[in-house]
């Protein structure tokens, strides 16, 4: 394992984060805070509790999950797309690094940033709502696992994209709707049974449900299913990345 190479890529990517601190940290924190203010404090105070949890607290895991998914995808996709766009990718491709090392560097940095953001939002939430964490170990595990999994997806999107528009399409057109319809703001029990069935086709349901379970012990689906589904996504994305590297798709002609 080439430690110096991994470190170089990782630190390079992280330095991008610090350089754009306002954009990369402040923006998601502010937008999530707005959700807490509007849905948690203002509207939430007029809503009934869901399974004994106040509405403001109920949406905390979902909102963190929203940030994790969006940030993991955008960090990782941007991280690999930028060198492709500017041409500096030649350096990474001509360096004595294995694909695994490239992945650890890029995906590791994107996931680290998401985990840090997730924790910052978790702390921010304490200013707006009272919540508890019943299973801190699982909470953190979900945080890390989701960040890594969706950083892989971001990496794939960054390689696939050949313009800034494509870079935005997947987070905006696919991930945002899936998160909003994935039980972030409601329990899927509240839906008519037909729509409950449809909702179960939404992968984000399993992520939000598992994450919420780690907070309050409440879940729409069994925790084992949530863990299994998350690992399933991870396996799927890893397989796609493996195929990209094996074929040189959009990296090498």
């Amino acid at each position: 394992m080439n430690f110096y190479s991994i470190r170089a890529i990782y630190l390079f990517e992280m330095s991008r984060t610090w350089r754009t601190l306002l954009q990369s940290v402040a923006t998601p924190v502010i937008s999530t805070s707005l959700y807490f203010v509007v849905f948690g404090s203002a509207i939430g105070s007029r809503m009934v509790e869901i399974d004994g949890v106040s509405y403001g607290a109920f949406i905390v895991p979902g909102l963190i999950m929203l940030t994790l998914l969006m940030q993991s995808i955008s960090n990782a996709s941007f991280g690999i797309y930028m060198p492709k766009f500017s041409g500096t990718i030649y350096e990474v491709l001509s360096a004595p690094v294995s694909y695994l090392e490239i992945l650890i560097g890029y995906v590791g940095a994107a996931a680290s940033k998401s985990v840090i953001l997730g924790l910052i939002i978790l702390i921010t939430a304490t200013f707006f709502v009272d919540y508890s964490i019943d299973h801190p170990f699982w909470m953190f595990s979900f945080l890390v696992l989701t960040s890594i999994t969706f950083s892989f997806l971001g990496f794939i999107i960054g390689i696939w994209a050949d313009g800034f528009e494509k870079l935005q399409i997947v987070p905006m057109m696919i991930v945002t709707p899936l998160v909003f319809l994935g039980g972030t703001f409601y329990s899927i029990d509240m839906l008519p049974s037909f729509w409950q069935g449809v909702t179960l086709l939404n992968p984000v349901v399993y992520l939000v449900s598992g994450f919420r379970w780690s907070f309050y012990g409440l879940s729409d689906v069994h925790i084992g299913v949530s863990i299994g589904m998350t690992l399933g996504f991870l396996a799927l994305f890893v397989a796609i990345v493996w195929w990209i590297f094996r074929t040189g798709y959009k990296l090498k002609s």
Binding site: I9, R19, T88, V97, G248, S253
Partner: protein, 308 residues
């Protein structure tokens, strides 16, 4: 001399069906400056890109310092530094950071002393804290060279190193390249500035339409293919070439004041004394004479056109 890069039967056909390389065989000797010449689209960049790992070969084999570039890519690539043709940079990074990044990327432990030396050699030391976007094109080119040298490669590829670079920087680069060669680095440069190859190279290879047309010591090449010219500046204009010299390779300028004689510098008998004697006999007087060797450029143009 031992070869440091060995290329055997290398082929590349792009997905579009374009055959960029058609069975290249080439050995680069350790410690030399090798100039790869060829017109645009001849396959120069494809060849370099394959050796450096940017493009997958379709067939054949390449070793760098004895390591197969695919099976033992780590060992092979750690020996190679690449300065690509296109100026690319992470605009927001500082010179110091970007050069150190490359060293790390190539798996080397940090070595600020070495980086400082590289930056000083390239007159970049004063600019080390500047962001790349603030640098001029010539400075960016230097940064790319500094990056390529950051991990102490034994082989350096310079793909069109002086494209778009002013005369002064070009001279500086040539000096730097010679110094690198002195320190044992093998240098392969592609160029279509023939002047550059003529100035620097030990050996010259010409690539055209994906094939190596010729590989020669530069001196041999100049000698073998070199034609010389003798130019005579006449006192009085001539209207046509004197009768006694019609069978020689002579040409007369339009104004009639310059007579040019072409001869093969390889021949013992250049025919010059006889020609001058004939001119004397005919009473043709001249005030100046000069000889000129044909340049690599002439040779190159001839070679490339011969293959058309």
């Amino acid at each position: 001399m031992a070869s440091i890069i060995s290329i055997e039967n290398l082929t590349k056909t792009y997905d579009s069906g374009f055959q960029a390389l058609k069975g290249i065989n080439l050995d680069i000797e350790q410690g030399e400056i090798f100039a790869l010449l060829g017109p645009n689209g001849a396959g120069k960049t494809t060849l370099i890109s394959i050796i450096c790992g940017l493009v997958n070969p379709s067939g054949g084999q390449v070793t760098a310092d004895g390591h197969d570039i695919i099976k033992h890519y780590r060992q092979a690539r750690s020996k190679i530094g690449l300065v690509p043709q296109e100026l690319t940079s992470n605009a927001f990074e500082s010179v110091w950071d970007t050069v150190n990044f490359t060293r790390g990327l190539f798996g080397k432990a940090p070595n600020p002393k070495h980086i400082e030396k590289v930056l000083r050699d390239l007159s970049l030391w004063d600019k080390r804290n500047e962001r790349l976007m603030a640098l001029s094109g010539g400075m960016k080119r230097r940064v790319m060279i500094a990056k390529a040298l950051s991990h102490e490669p034994r082989i350096l590829f310079l793909d069109e190193p002086t494209a778009g670079v002013d005369v002064e920087l070009r001279r500086e680069m040539w000096t730097m390249v010679r110094e690198l060669r002195e320190s044992g680095v093998t240098i392969i440069l592609t160029t279509h500035y023939i002047e550059e190859a003529e100035e620097m190279a030990d050996r010259v290879g010409v690539i055209n339409q994906g094939e190596i047309v010729l590989v020669e010591q530069k001196q041999d090449l100049m000698r073998k293919l070199g034609r010389r010219e003798l130019r005579l500046a006449l006192r009085e204009p001539l209207s046509n070439i004197p009768a006694g010299l019609k069978d020689r390779d002579l040409s007369l300028s339009e104004d009639g004041y310059q007579l040019t004689y072409r001869f093969d510098s390889q021949q013992d008998d250049t025919g010059i004394p006889e020609m001058l004697a004939t001119l004397n006999d005919a009473g043709i007087d001249y005030k100046d004479l000069q000889t000129r060797e044909s340049s690599l450029e002439d040779i190159f143009v001839n070679l490339v056109h011969r293959n058309d």
